[in-house]
Amino acid sequence: MSSFTEEQIYRYSRHIILPEVGGKGQKKLFEAKVLLLGAGGLGSPAAMYLAAGGIGNLGIIDFDVVDMSNLQRQILHGVEDIGRSKAESARDTIKSLNPDVRVEIYKERLTSENIYRIFEKYNIIVDGCDNFPTRYLVNDACIISGKTNVHGSIFRFDGQVTVFKPIEGPCYRCLYPEPPPAGMVPSCQEAGVLGVLPGIIGTLQAVEVIKLILGTGKPLIGRLLLYNAMDAEFREVKLRRDVNCPVCGDNPTIKELIDYEEFCGVGRHS
């Protein structure tokens, strides 16, 4: 796209007027390619704000279908979407919000087989998935293929956000070298989550994505932002690159992707 139309300039005028964005920055946003892992709790607000803000290319991967119980927090979907593919529902919502956005959907589950093919087109990955095996798979693939991972996770009233940028900062394995061992307890259970919480965390992820694209501000690289809704408290801890990290350390031992065992057989992605 060479230049914006009058209508686009008007649409993005509140961005363009910001010296930190400007016409140049808005063009960067329009040319950016961002992949959202999951059109669920975190992916919903992230996708909507990225689309509204004029991120030109959004990929969405989700193999799940919309369920009534998703609507408590997954604001991409509505009652009429129940039973539909989340990826399709997400695409339609995004298109109705901003037809400028080119949306590509992937109705598949992320595995070591398809991850590089799906990641290839994108520069930034927004990790809003809901299980440990995918978290590790995504981390390792991002390190190996040099993609920046904007990580968000939630649990009941707690949220965590950080940015894993290969080489510049630590990765998920520097933080937690191994996933919790599978098979310790046979059954899974649903822990519950405050519906607004992914709204906060997913929106923070969108902010980080935009800063990364614009190359402005102080990204959450090497910093883990913690939010607790009950205490209405934000805190931050430092994350350091671990020289012994099995994937991004000085002598990496993980050079191929690992499909960790699923912890249980019920639904997985968001």
Partner: protein
């Protein structure tokens, strides 16, 4: 040293629903011994069978990860805040946690 330890929500059942408790000790090892004394059962959630801190839990003194200090020998001083931060994975439609993760 009297130090405040922030307890993550999955462990708060063991600390009578308190998100922050005060324990005594000059390093992490001593703090956690006192924590176990005051709130029996918590040690098993933090340490594995071989007595090592579980790898999906990180411990911070203020903003610093103890793995980059002196691990459990990391010293604390009055007024420090110790945080126990477990890996969480949730993001979307169904938050699946094994019972072990919920309780750590």
């Amino acid at each position: 040293m009297a130090v405040k330890v922030r307890i993550p929500s999955p462990l708060q059942k063991l600390t009578k629903n308190q998100s922050e408790v005060t324990v005594n000790g000059k390093n992490i090892r001593e703090l956690f011994l006192d924590l176990e004394k005051q709130y029996p059962g918590i040690k098993n959630r933090l340490y594995d069978e071989s007595g090592n801190l579980r790898r999906f839990i990180n411990i911070y003194i203020n903003e610093e990860d103890i793995r980059f200090l002196k691990n459990e020998d990391s010293e604390v001083k009055d007024g420090d805040s110790v945080s126990i931060i477990p890996a969480i994975a949730g993001g979307g439609c169904v938050i699946l946690y094994r019972r072990a993760d919920l309780q750590i």
